[in-house]
């Protein structure tokens, strides 16, 4: 079963409470997503560490039930 968009947003926000998540359905199939995540927690962290925070929030379904997530991260302006 693919992961629904609302579930993706909920998990990211549960793991990163101040996260602003913009989710885009890339293929219109509820299965290929692009997420842009903005959080103050990313400040001063390298990109790999920023992405790992998001992957950790999503949990072990990342790469499994959720296999297609294009991810970009940023700190708030």
């Amino acid at each position: 079963m693919p992961m629904a968009g609302a579930e993706i947003i909920a998990r990211i926000k549960a793991g990163i409470p101040d996260a602003e998540v913009t989710l885009t359905d890339l293929a219109g199939d509820d299965n290929h997503w692009a997420a842009h995540v903005v959080s103050a927690q990313f400040a001063g962290k390298p990109r790999v560490a920023q992405h790992k925070l998001v992957y950790a929030a999503i949990g072990e379904d990342m790469g499994g039930a959720l296999h297609a997530l294009q991810l970009t991260t940023a700190v708030p302006n």
């Binding site: 990109r47 790999v48 997530l69």
Partner: protein, 109 residues
């Protein structure tokens, strides 16, 4: 598990640039792997593509080795750089070119 890690360490260090991917550089089997190959091809640098679909041990083991849940994964000089999104962000910022140049890797003539 430690055998797997030793095997992966050998692969990671076997070439200056190693891309763990689904499919081969000529025939990528996933959009993200395809994008990673396109970036490296555009930079014109030689790299070793490792098809994880052909090797279940490496496919699972690389995720633990890198502490990174998805494929593709880029290694330069034995160091984990990131997945295709990070490759794209770094490429657009000129950072990937810089990292490769700093590693002493020159584009193909």
């Amino acid at each position: 598990m430690s055998d797997t890690n030793a095997r992966i360490a050998d692969i990671v260090n076997s070439s200056d640039i190693v891309l763990f991917m689904k499919g081969t550089p000529l025939f990528p089997q996933c959009g993200f792997s395809s994008r990673a190959v396109a970036i490296l091809d555009h930079l014109g640098v030689p790299f070793e593509g490792v098809d994880v679909l052909q090797d279940m041990e490496v496919r699972q083991g690389i995720k633990a080795y890198s502490d990174w849940p998805t494929i593709p994964q880029l290694y330069v000089k034995g160091e984990f750089v990131g997945g295709s999104d990070i490759m794209m962000e770094m490429y657009e910022a000129g950072e990937l070119q810089q990292l490769i140049a700093d590693a002493g890797i020159t584009p193909r003539a």
